[in-house]
Point group: C2
Chain length 185, copies 2
């Protein structure tokens, strides 16, 4: 049986990204038969409505990967009290050309990490707003506003802290159940 694929968008491009580490930690907690597909967003062009006549190859690649996936997971840092432009650009690219929104109907969730607890929560408020408009069947709870601490998740996504593991395992279990329900409905 083929695996259930979750398309993952990580909003930060930096090498040592906390949010990428968080995504890797979640990946290790997936049940058998599930996998993450990390989508590349750093090489997308800045969305221009004139593209709709002749869509750039990187945009088509992103759209196909989203469409091929069974679910969507968006992991966002906070930049300037919202989510990053690079992530919004990926959502804009994937939502067009007009009438071909690749996110529509996809079961999904959004979470994120920031050095302080409020940061990612503000970013996620804007992000959830956009994802719902895009037709993502968005998990409302549990929420995950992760205050990132270096000693809790290492660079490979190994979880070094029991309460963190318990919290993230619960998140993954409920996400898996949410996606399962959406797929049956």
């Amino acid at each position: 049986m083929s695996k259930i694929t979750v398309a993952v968008l990580v909003g930060s491009l930096r090498k040592e990204s906390y949010n990428r580490r968080l995504a890797k930690a979640l990946e290790k907690l997936l049940p058998e038969g599930w996998r993450f597909d990390y989508l590349r967003i750093d090489d997308l062009p800045l969305y221009n409505q004139d593209f709709d006549q002749d869509y750039p190859a990187e945009g088509t690649r992103l759209k196909q990967a989203v469409e091929a996936a069974d679910a969507l997971l968006v992991v966002t840092p906070e930049y300037n009290r919202s989510f990053p432009g690079v992530l919004k650009n990926a959502l804009d690219i994937g939502s067009r050309p007009w009438g071909t929104n690749s996110f529509n109907g996809k079961p999904g969730a959004a979470l994120g990490a920031s050095p302080g607890a409020p940061g990612t929560s503000m970013a996620q408020q804007h992000l959830r707003n956009v994802l719902l408009y895009l037709g993502v069947r968005l998990m409302g709870v549990p929420e995950a506003y992760v205050q990132f601490k270096e000693d809790r998740i290492d660079a490979e996504g190994n979880i070094l802290h029991d309460d963190t593991r318990k919290f993230l395992q619960d998140y993954v279990d409920k996400f898996v159940a949410w996606v399962g329900q959406c797929r049956k409905a």
Copy 2:
């Protein structure tokens, strides 16, 4: 005497952009001694925190243009119930490297146009939130949620409709007064 320069960010890149037409219309209504400087944002790289070690030249160019200006005007369409990723990316780029936020303290305003009236209003809510965080001394009222109609402003920004001219002239006059007050304060 040198002119008072308003740095203008237009959130849409398309050639026939309504928001660019709106900006051009506003430009024609400026008083003597004022000018618009349209900042280029289509060639900026997607912001990556690793840039902070060695900032890209296009980013430095944007920052210098913002810093050289006396005021800021942001003209935004709505994409997916928020403002475009390309515009957020420009704000992210201009706000960094850490501790060198180029927008801080700049008198400014945000407005926009969309085919339906609610579109730009939703984009502007997110945008205002970010601009305030960036330390822009943001004009609260008047607001301008412009429902764009082809027969009201032509491609060169000529205003073809008396009520539109009156509305936009009032907006420009109050923006000019706002910037003047901020410069004195």
